[in-house]
């Protein structure tokens, strides 16, 4: 599938061209299959969201009379499940921003000490981070939930922030260490000889040069916190402290199941991360593959 087969070298030209056209046609057909596979669930979200209320239980493949009513209901919080929608949206945003800020500061400070200052036993910290990275987060959820109770953080946004930071920081430390290798250590040394304190080296040399990695990790942490569900579901219980995904999943438990409102909510919730993803896609990939998978 990967490469159009280029048979033996002695093929006559017309034959070769026919083969290539055939290959091109096959690739096109394959693309159509991939498109359908990829887009069907996403089309389904849009289709259900565009159905006017009450018309969800139909056998249509296309909405009979598309309407934006559901979106209007969501935006104006016109349904009892959605009464705190913007408040919950704000909670999601708050958690996201706090996670980014804390992850970036904790992660960059640690990688600076390990990677640049080469503190003794720094490898212990790296290994701890690597270990955290490979342990599935959902496996830690039960004790984590209990411990948040001990810390007196139940139903508090900060418990979620703590969870997101815990699982985003290991990734940050790796990226920073990998990226930091490309910054000459001589810069740090020159600054030190001129009498800069480690704090100054960190702020004036390390951070500015790490900007691309910071963008990549920041985006990663923001999306992680925005998209994550399990911890937010377990740790936040009141309507006012909930985040959007938790509220969204609550719909599922209601008897009435207003599917069109739910899907409209889902779209409003999904737009920011998708936009951010596509906006920073190139930068993230470029920044990370730079030293990346090349030999």
């Amino acid at each position: 599938m990967s490469v159009p087969t280029v048979g033996g070298a002695r093929l006559r030209r017309p034959n070769y061209r026919r083969r290539r056209n055939l290959g091109e046609a096959a690739a096109l057909a394959f693309s159509v299959v991939v498109l359908i596979w990829t887009l069907t669930p996403i089309y389904n979200i849009v289709q259900v969201a565009l159905e006017p209320h009450g018309d969800v239980f139909t056998n249509d493949v296309f909405p009979s009379k598309p309407s934006f009513e559901s979106f209007w209901i969501v935006v104006t919080q016109g349904y009892w499940y959605l009464e705190y929608f913007w408040h919950q949206f704000g909670n999601s945003l708050y958690i996201g921003v706090a996670t980014v800020v804390i992850t970036l500061s904790v992660g960059s400070l640690a990688s600076f000490a390990i990677g640049r200052m080469r503190i003794r036993y720094g490898w212990l910290v790296s290994n701890a981070a690597l270990l955290t990275y490979v342990i599935p987060a959902s496996f830690l959820a039960i004790p984590f939930y209990r411990i948040m109770g001990f810390y007196g953080l139940s139903n508090n946004l900060w418990s979620v922030i703590a969870a997101e930071v815990t699982f985003a920081t290991p990734y940050a430390i790796f990226i920073f260490q990998q990226y930091g290798v490309s910054i000459p250590i001589e810069l740090d040394e020159a600054a030190r000889i001129d009498g800069a304190s480690p704090l100054q080296v960190y702020f004036k040399i390390y951070l500015p040069l790490m900007a691309p990695a910071m963008v990549a990790v920041g985006t990663y942490a923001l999306l992680l916190a925005w998209n994550e569900y399990l911890y937010q579901f377990l740790l936040l219980s009141s309507k006012k402290s909930m985040t959007v995904p938790v509220a969204l999943a609550q719909f599922l438990n209601s008897d009435e199941a207003p599917w069109n409102y739910m899907m409209a909510t889902a779209i409003v919730y999904a737009i920011p991360p998708v936009a951010i993803y596509y906006a920073f896609r190139r930068r993230m990939t470029a920044g990370l593959t730079m030293g990346g998978v090349k030999g």
Binding site: M1, T38, T58, I114, I119, I175, Y229, M262, A266, V293
Partner: protein, 308 residues
């Protein structure tokens, strides 16, 4: 939370640090107050790790310390089915996904604007948050009102089955397909980056020696990608083991609790039937699989560092 967490990490891990040798500490080592500063810089992360990783892990081990819990689990039919599901989910899901990603990454090496355009659309499942997509798939597979059966009926006049309501195997298959739908694009992007890093000259040289078509793949691409592929598969196995969202939102463990995996059953036992110790035991029973995987992965990442 494997969710976005996965985001391009394999790439980050896959770095051959040829530069490592010339990395050295600040000249003359750390002096005087610098050492204090270094300690102060590490403390926030150390505190974070102790408070939110080490403590929960130890507390979890303590919660699941009773051997009686495990004998109780073993005799439970739900648990036995869950173990089978988890093995199938990992065995089929991960391998299909990774092999599919390998093929897709080859496809995306083609030239042409529409292939690039397709790639942009193809990564959409990964860019969209898990929750909306999985809820959508859940509704799409509804036997009576779902889009899939509507389409089957309108196109072919076939009455589709209730994908999630009737049979365990259909439901489990749907969950695996949803997982692949969501995560294959991510691994495709990783493997694509791996393929792009293979120098073009290698292919040219191989072509001179007569390696074209399939041979090109078996003698050039695959040997160079094998290590990356292995590391990605290991990572993906661990992430899939902890995948909560696909199962929870697509099948919800149903019909009749027959499609749970360890990650969802643990949460169910701990919070729905209020037996946290049992929930922890469910999760801990994955350790015999997890520990070797983790050791293997950490070694791979440390020693070989995926050379291309």
């Amino acid at each position: 939370m494997a969710d976005v967490q996965v985001l391009r990490t394999a790439e980050a891990f896959a770095i051959p640090s040829d530069v490592k040798a010339r990395r050295r500490p600040w000249r003359f080592g750390l002096q005087g107050s610098e050492f204090t500063w270094a300690i102060a810089f590490v403390i926030p992360y150390a505190a974070l790790f102790l408070a939110f990783v080490a403590y929960p892990v130890l507390y979890g081990l303590w919660l699941g310390r009773e051997p009686a819990l495990y004998t109780e689990l073993m005799s439970e039919p739900i648990y036995q089915r869950t173990v089978v599901n988890t093995i199938l989910y990992l065995g089929i899901g991960v391998n299909l996904k990774m092999f599919g990603a390998l093929l897709m990454s080859g496809f995306f090496m083609r030239r042409g604007w529409w292939v690039k355009g397709l790639l942009l659309i193809y990564v959409l499942p990964w860019a969209v948050p898990a929750l909306p997509s999985f809820i959508s798939i859940h509704w799409m597979l509804n036997g009576q009102w779902g889009l899939l059966n509507n389409a089957l009926y309108n196109l072919f006049g076939v009455d589709g089955p209730g994908w999630l309501e009737t049979s365990r195997w259909l439901a489990l298959g749907s969950v695996i397909a949803s997982h692949i739908w969501k995560w294959m694009p991510f691994w495709t992007v990783i493997l694509l980056a791996g393929r792009m890093a293979i120098p073009q000259e290698l292919y040219e040289a191989a072509e001179m020696d007569g390696a074209t078509g399939v041979k090109r793949f078996t003698y050039v691409s695959f040997p160079l990608l094998a290590n990356l592929y292995l590391v990605c598969t290991l990572l993906s196995t661990l992430f899939t083991l902890g995948d909560f969202n696909s199962v929870y939102f697509v099948s919800g463990g149903g019909p009749a609790l027959s499609t749970h995996v360890l990650a969802t059953l643990g949460i169910r036992d701990a919070f729905e039937i209020a037996r946290p110790d049992l929930g922890v035991a469910v999760v801990m029973s994955a350790l015999p699989l997890m520990i070797p995987l983790v050791i293997l992965l950490m070694r791979k990442l440390h020693t070989t560092e995926v050379q291309l």
